[in-house]
Homo-oligomer: 344 residues x 2
C-alpha cells in the first residue's frame, strides 16, 4: 500500500518524461533503426497492413491504421487475435504487413498471431518497448520505442512512444525509407509546452463527482478519445464511453445530458472540422463539453493534424492523474490491472 | 408522444418477427440470389475483405469479419469510413472485397467508401434492407436482407437479418458458391424457441436501478456483447461498456464490482471455453454476472458457435425492451436516435 502522499508520483514522472521520449526517438541511432525497417517495408511492397494489439496499444495501432490509410494509401485494419489464437484461423497473409504493437511484447496471443502470420508469408513487425521480448523475437522486423522503464501500471509514455514510433516509421515508408526527421523536430518542445500549461487540477475539482464520462473524436483523434476513456476507467474507475464523432450521432448521443461531461478532441484540419456538427448536436443536448485542442478547454498547440494525437493525449493524462487523486485512488497501482496480461 | 400503453409495441413486434426473417432468407428466391453473389466472389478470389458499417450494422460487420477469417481463412477487418470520406485516402483495394453493411443503405459516407473502392478495382458488395438504396446501387454486388419494414427506431430484426445474410453468404463462398441450406434449416425454429423462453420481465425488475452495465464476449460472441451494449444505451440510456473477454482482463475489470451487472455471452465451443477464465476473474470481483448461452441465466439453445450470435442476441433484445419500459422510456422512439444518420 502506497503512502497517501506518494500516490501518483510514478504516473506523474512517466507523464513528465514524454518530451524526452520524443527527443530520444529522434536521435540518430533510433532514426537509423527505424529507417532500416522502413526500407525493408518499401522493398517488400505489402498490399495491406494488419495491426494486432490489446488495451492501450490497440489505440496506438488504430492511429497507425489511420496513418497507413491516409498517408500510404494502403488498406489497413485491426485484427482480432482470437480468430487465430482461439479459433485456429489461418488467414492468407502473404501480401500483408502484420504489425504487433505491445509495450511489454509479452502477450502470448500477439506473439502467436505474428508467428502464424510469418509462417503464412507475411512481413511481420513488432513495435514494443522491450527489444528482447517474445514479440520482438518472433517478428522478422522490430522497432524499439525506447521509452525506458514505466513506473505506473497505467501506460502513458509507452503509449505516446508507440504513436511516435509508428508516425516516424510510416512517414519513412512514405518517403521511400528515410525518416524525414526535420518534420518532427518541434514535437519534443511542443510536448513540453503542452505539459507546462497544466489545467488538470482545476478541472479535476469540477469533475470529481461526475458519475460517468463520454469521450469523442474523429479520424486521427478517435484513438485519443479511446485512450482517454480507457485511462479514465483504469485509474479513476469512472465508466467512460468512447465514440467516434460519427457514431455518437447514431444513438448514443441520447445518453449525453447536462450531467455527463463530454471530452471532445477537436484538432485542426479535416478531422477537427468534421467534429463541428457533433459539437453542435452536443450543445443542443446541453452537454458539458470539454474540448481538447487548439483554443480548447484543455489547450494543445496547433499542429498538422497527423501530429495531434502525440500532444492532445498529454493534458488528458494529467487530468486522469488529478482526477484519480481527487477521488482518493492510487493511479500508480490501480486495482485489477497488471502490466502484462496473458490471454490466449 | 406515444400513449404509455403502446410504448414498445413496435419493438416487441420487430423482435417477434425474427424467426420469420430467418425463414424468409432460407426461401429459394433469397438463397438463389445469395448463391449468385457468392459465385461472383469465388470467381474473383479476393485476397482480403474490408467491411465498412456504422452503429448496429458495425456489429454485424464484425461478425462477418470473424466468419471470413475463421471460415474462409481470409484476412478481414473493419475500415473507418472517415479515412476515405474526411481525409481523402485512396487506398489500393484492387485485391479486396469491400462490404458495406447498412440497414437503410442510405448513409452517404458508406456509399462514398464503396464508390471509391469500386473505382480502385475492388469487388464491392452492399448488404442492406433496401435493395433500391444508394449503397445497393453503388456496389457491384448486393444482398437484400429482406427483413421488411422495421417499426422501432432501434434496430433488432434488421441486425439479425444482416447476421443471417452474412452467414449464408460466407458459408456459400466456402462451399464454392452454393448456400448449404440444410445446415441452417433449424435456425428459425431455434429462434422461436429462444424467444418463447422469455425471462426478460423478471430480470428487468432486478436491474431497474442499475447505474451502469458491462457486457462481454469473445470471438463470434464479441459482436453480441457490442450490440447488447449499444441497444441498452440507445433505449434505456444506461451507460453500457462492451469489452472482449480478453480486453476486460486488461484493466477495465477493476470497474466491475457487486454494483455493476455484467452480461456475459458464453456460447458453446472454443469461444465459450475461452470465456471461462474471464468468468473466474469476475467471480473474484464479486460481480453480478448474467450469462447468456446454453445453461445461462438467459438461456439459448446449444448450437455450433458460428450460429450463436443469431440466437443469443434475442433474449438481450427482450431484456432491453423490458428494461426500457421498466424505466419509463419508449423504446420505439428513443430520444436522439434517427433511422438514417447522415455523417460524412
Amino acid at each position: 500500500v502506497t503512502n497517501r502522499n506518494e500516490r501518483g508520483v510514478g504516473m506523474a514522472a512517466d507523464i513528465a518524461e514524454q518530451p524526452e521520449v520524443y527527443a530520444k526517438l529522434l536521435e540518430p541511432a533510433q532514426v537509423k533503426a527505424i529507417s532500416q525497417v522502413a526500407k525493408k517495408i518499401v522493398q517488400r511492397q505489402p498490399r495491406h497492413i494488419v495491426f494486432t494489439a490489446r488495451g492501450t496499444s490497440d489505440h496506438a495501432a488504430l492511429y497507425g491504421s489511420y496513418l497507413a490509410e491516409i498517408r500510404l494509401n494502403l488498406a489497413a485494419g485491426l485484427a482480432s487475435p482470437s480468430a487465430i489464437t482461439v479459433f485456429g484461423a489461418r488467414p492468407d497473409l502473404s501480401h500483408a504487413l502484420v504489425v504487433g504493437v505491445s509495450q511489454s511484447g509479452g502477450s502470448p496471443d500477439l506473439t502467436e498471431v505474428l508467428r502464424v502470420a510469418r509462417e503464412s508469408g507475411a512481413l511481420t513487425l513488432a513495435v514494443t518497448n522491450n527489444a528482447e521480448s517474445s514479440l520482438a523475437r518472433t517478428a522478422e522486423l522490430s522497432v524499439d520505442v525506447a521509452a525506458g522503464h514505466e513506473r505506473a501500471v497505467a501506460a502513458t509514455k509507452t503509449y505516446t512512444a508507440e504513436l511516435m514510433a509508428l508516425l516516424l516509421l510510416i512517414e519513412a515508408v512514405k518517403a521511400g525509407g528515410k525518416v524525414p526527421v526535420k518534420e518532427f523536430a518541434k514535437l519534443p518542445r511542443l510536448a513540453a509546452d503542452t505539459l507546462a500549461n497544466d489545467k488538470a487540477a482545476e478541472l479535476a475539482q469540477r469533475y470529481r463527482f461526475a458519475a460517468r464520462v463520454v469521450t469523442t473524436g474523429r479520424g486521427y483523434s478517435y484513438p485519443s478519445a479511446r485512450e482517454a476513456a480507457l485511462k479514465l476507467m483504469e485509474t479513476t474507475y469512472l465508466p467512460a464511453l468512447a465514440f467516434s464523432g460519427a457514431d455518437l450521432l447514431h444513438g448514443p448521443l441520447a445518453m449525453t445530458d447536462p450531467d455527463v461531461p463530454v471530452f471532445a478532441f477537436v484538432g485542426s484540419g479535416l478531422g477537427g472540422e468534421s467534429m463541428k456538427p457533433v459539437l453542435g448536436r452536443l450543445a443542443e443536448q446541453r452537454a458539458d463539453v470539454v474540448t481538447v485542442g487548439p483554443a480548447g478547454t484543455l489547450p494543445v498547440p496547433e499542429v498538422d493534424e497527423r501530429f495531434g494525437p502525440l500532444l492532445e493525449i498529454l493534458p488528458m493524462q494529467q487530468l486522469v492523474l488529478s482526477l484519480a487523486l481527487a477521488r482518493g485512488e492510487d493511479p500508480d497501482a490501480p486495482r485489477g490491472l497488471k502490466k502484462v496480461t496473458a490471454t490466449l
